[in-house]
């Protein structure tokens, strides 16, 4: 069976894995902290635009942190990053276009004249 013929992982490889293991723990803690901060943030009495901006940045931060470290993209070949980013960018652009196209607000005539 092929797997039994595999060589044991090299020491360098193992050392790298141990380094990444510590990164994962630190990252998990940061993700928990940021999520907690988001929940606190929405209740703060500061302008809505400021909250939205900070919220977006925090979520984007979590998003890219998971992609780059948990999903290994920072350690992998750049092609994979661009493959994913193409889909992500297109999705975001489509979302932005759709929101702008439906720019007529307040069509809820039951509650607004």
């Amino acid at each position: 069976m092929s797997s039994s013929h595999e060589a044991a992982p090299s020491p360098d490889f193992l050392a790298e894995e141990v380094r990444r293991y510590h990164h994962f723990i630190v990252l998990a803690l940061w993700l928990a902290v940021v999520t907690g901060a988001e929940i606190v943030l929405i209740y703060l009495p500061i302008p809505t635009a400021a909250i939205l901006t900070i919220l977006t940045l925090m979520s984007a931060g979590k998003f890219f942190a998971v992609i780059l470290w948990f999903m290994h993209l920072i350690y992998d070949k750049r092609l994979l990053f661009w493959c994913f980013f193409a889909g992500l960018a297109l999705a975001f652009a489509t979302y932005a276009a759709l929101i702008m196209l439906f720019s007529v607000d307040r069509i809820d005539t039951r509650w607004f004249s």
Partner: protein, 675 residues
């Protein structure tokens, strides 16, 4: 036992000893005949199957078209009822796009891409087979709606309780190939889910959904193959243009189909579970359907045309004896067309009241997309200019493509001016435009591909005089059919209406258009019949009858199972042509020969898993019909799909070693590459 092959290399797969997969079942590697075709993972056989089904469905769509044209030949005609007419134009469009053009393009992708990049198969052979069978079953589900419709018309369903309870009895889809909400959706408050149409729409929804899964699976496979399995020295900028266009098309598919998947899910939830995505009574926005559909729909038309452009980019250099003019620019414009294709979807919606800013933005972007297309046309002309042109059937068709597609492009640019479009929208002018690009463009391009590569696929040459006659009839017929429609559209004839009254001045050109349609049908029929006959009994020809430029022409015709006896090493674009006439030779890796090359094992799992789609495809419309216990059919289908996938994962990839002849004249040990 999993990844090893315990067989010594064999000369032919029928010599293999029976081998068991990880599940303990015997792998179907030694099968021949029908079982071989059902379990094949060979990209060439899969390509032939795609092509055969596509040609069949082209004829089905053609019959639907002729029924439409017969109905419209005379004013106030009653050849078909209004309802049947709606079903005909819906199925004609859906069949031609999803069951005709896309699978025929897939046939070319499957057969050619591994050969053109110097590989032995695609990255995931069983996934490739799964895509094929998902397409076959999805196509069957969609056309099964016709069977239900005919059964209904014949009165065979009258004794069933669920049939008596139906409000609408249209079993074949009748909403147009883009099935707009709110007609396709629901109305009513709080889950009343009252509908405007019968189960035809449900057949359409699930049919397109399954076909979408087939296309997506195939596209993931091809992107991976093209990026990851190129022969040594085959850099991206040495790829044949056809392979480049396949890559761009596959990227378009994986990014555009999710939009229609979501739209179909939302519509299905509206109809089946009483959701309100497009229900005006609850605040749903029917125009959202249009947006989501066309976010998919516009890239879809580039998915249809780019492969044909890739074919033309192969045919023109071969028969001009010159390399493609401006290769990097042609590749780049293909990519730009693909990218911009996502930015123009609302040009299908100029008359929906988007507002001046969005309308202007989409109009400008649509005009912009004409630029890379025009660049390609100039590059093609530059390819022919100064060459020694041979007017073989593929060349004649490719030249026809340039001219006819340009005509379609001109009417397209006329549409891009939103004020003009407000007159042209929903008139026969639109029909003229897209049939010029689809027939004059895509069909001529695909036919050029068929005549060009048939000798490679079957080792037999189609009869040239018949090819010229058929091509002539096709070009004459479609111009006669669709040329007058420009006038008819501007004279006010609306599309998708089953008849018209006399006295509008439309009678004469409708009659001419019908004659043209029949000529077109005869031409296509002659071409297809001749091609099928050729596959079995045509005159045998050499490996390289056209003095081809790309790697596939270096192989025997028909191509052996292992493709390349030894993996090639290339150092330039058009490597085979340079090998024959230039100074750069193709090298060969030190594989193959008596040690054999690795071939993927065949498998029952792809067809087994995709059979689940058959049950789901019938179950969902039957649920909508009110057939008791139909929901269990859907659940059963999901179970079959899941089971098939699990067994697929568990059986292991297997594989066996096939001996290949060594290329004569290859120096013994080392690779001859090196550049």
């Amino acid at each position: 036992m999993s990844h090893d092959s315990h067989h010594a290399p064999v000369a032919c797969k029928t010599e293999l000893a029976p081998e068991r997969s990880d599940l303990g079942l015997i792998r179907p590697d030694r099968t021949t005949g029908l079982m071989d075709w059902l379990t094949t993972v060979d990209h060439k056989k899969i390509g032939i199957l795609y092509g055969a089904f596509a040609m069949f469905y082209f004829l089905v769509g053609g019959v639907e078209a002729l029924a439409i044209r017969t109905q419209l030949a005379r004013p106030d005609n009653d050849f078909v009822t209004a309802r049947m007419y709606n079903q005909l134009f819906t199925m004609h469009g859906t069949t031609m796009i999803f069951l005709g053009v896309m699978p025929l393009s897939a046939a070319f992708f499957n057969f050619l891409v591994p050969l053109q990049i110097g590989a032995r198969d695609v990255a995931f052979p069983r996934l490739n087979a799964f895509s094929l069978w998902a397409f076959v079953f999805g196509a069957f589900v969609l056309n099964a709606s016709w069977l239900f419709e005919f059964a209904h018309l014949a009165g065979w369903l009258n004794s069933f309780e669920w049939h008596k309870a139906l409000v609408y009895t249209d079993f074949a889809p009748a909403n147009g190939w883009f099935s707009y909400a709110p007609l396709a959706g629901t109305f009513g408050q709080n889950g009343q889910a009252l509908r405007f149409t019968g189960v035809g729409t449900d057949f359409w929804i699930i049919g397109i959904q399954v076909l979408g899964i087939a296309s997506l699976a195939a596209s993931f496979n091809f992107i991976c193959t093209i990026i990851n399995m190129r022969a040594k020295g085959m850099t991206m900028m040495r790829l044949p243009v056809f392979t480049w266009m396949t890559l761009v098309t596959a990227i378009l598919i994986i990014l555009a189909f999710p939009a229609i998947t979501v739209a179909l899910i939302e519509l299905m939830f509206d109809r089946t579970f009483g959701a309100n995505f497009f229900n005006p009574s609850a605040g749903g926005q029917p125009v959202l359907w249009q947006h989501l559909f066309w976010i998919f729909g516009h890239p879809e038309v580039y998915i249809l045309v780019l492969p044909a452009m890739g074919i033309v980019s192969e045919v023109l250099p071969t028969f001009s004896g010159k390399s493609l003019f401006g290769y990097p620019i042609i590749v780049f414009s293909g990519a730009v067309i693909g990218f911009l294709g996502f930015a123009v979807w609302s040009h299908h919606m100029f008359t929906t009241g988007l507002g001046p800013v969005p309308t202007a933005a989409f109009a400008l972007l649509t005009m912009a997309i004409a630029v890379p297309t025009g660049v390609k046309i100039f590059n093609w002309l530059g390819t022919i200019w100064g060459g020694r042109v041979r007017f073989t059937p593929p060349m004649v068709l490719a030249l026809g493509f340039i001219w006819m597609f340009m005509c379609g492009g001109f009417s397209g640019v006329m549409h891009s001016a939103a004020p003009a479009d407000s007159q042209q929208q929903d008139s026969y002018f639109v029909i003229a435009h897209f049939h010029y690009v689809l027939l004059g463009g895509v069909l001529l391009g695909l036919m050029a591909g068929l005549y060009f590569w048939f000798p490679k696929i079957f080792g037999r040459m189609p009869n040239a005089p018949i090819a010229y006659i058929a091509s002539g009839l096709v070009v004459l017929g479609f111009n006669l059919a669709f040329g007058p429609m420009h006038y008819l559209g501007l004279a006010g004839q609306p599309r998708r209406t089953h008849t018209y009254h006399a006295g509008n001045g439309w009678e004469q050109w409708n009659y001419v258009a019908t004659i043209g349609a029949y000529i077109l049908g005869i031409g296509v029929f002659i071409a297809f019949v001749n091609l099928v006959w050729t596959a079995f009994r045509g005159k045998k020809c050499s490996n390289d009858p056209w003095d081809g430029r790309t790697l596939e022409w270096s192989l025997p015709s028909p191509v052996p199972e292992y493709n390349f006896a030894q993996a090639p090493i290339v150092t330039t674009r058009d490597a085979f042509f340079e090998d024959k006439h230039g100074s750069k030779r193709i090298g060969f890796e030190n594989d193959g020969g008596e040690a054999g090359v690795h071939m993927p094992s065949q498998s029952w799992m792809p067809i087994l898993a995709s059979a689940g789609f058959l049950f789901i495809g019938f179950g969902m419309p039957m649920m909508a019909m009110g057939v008791p216990h139909a929901g269990w059919l859907v659940i059963g289908g999901l179970g079959v799909l899941f089971l098939g996938i699990c067994l697929w994962a568990l059986e292991g990839p297997g594989g066996y070693m096939l001996k290949t002849p060594t290329v004569s004249g290859t120096p013994a040990p080392a690779e001859t590459a090196a550049h």
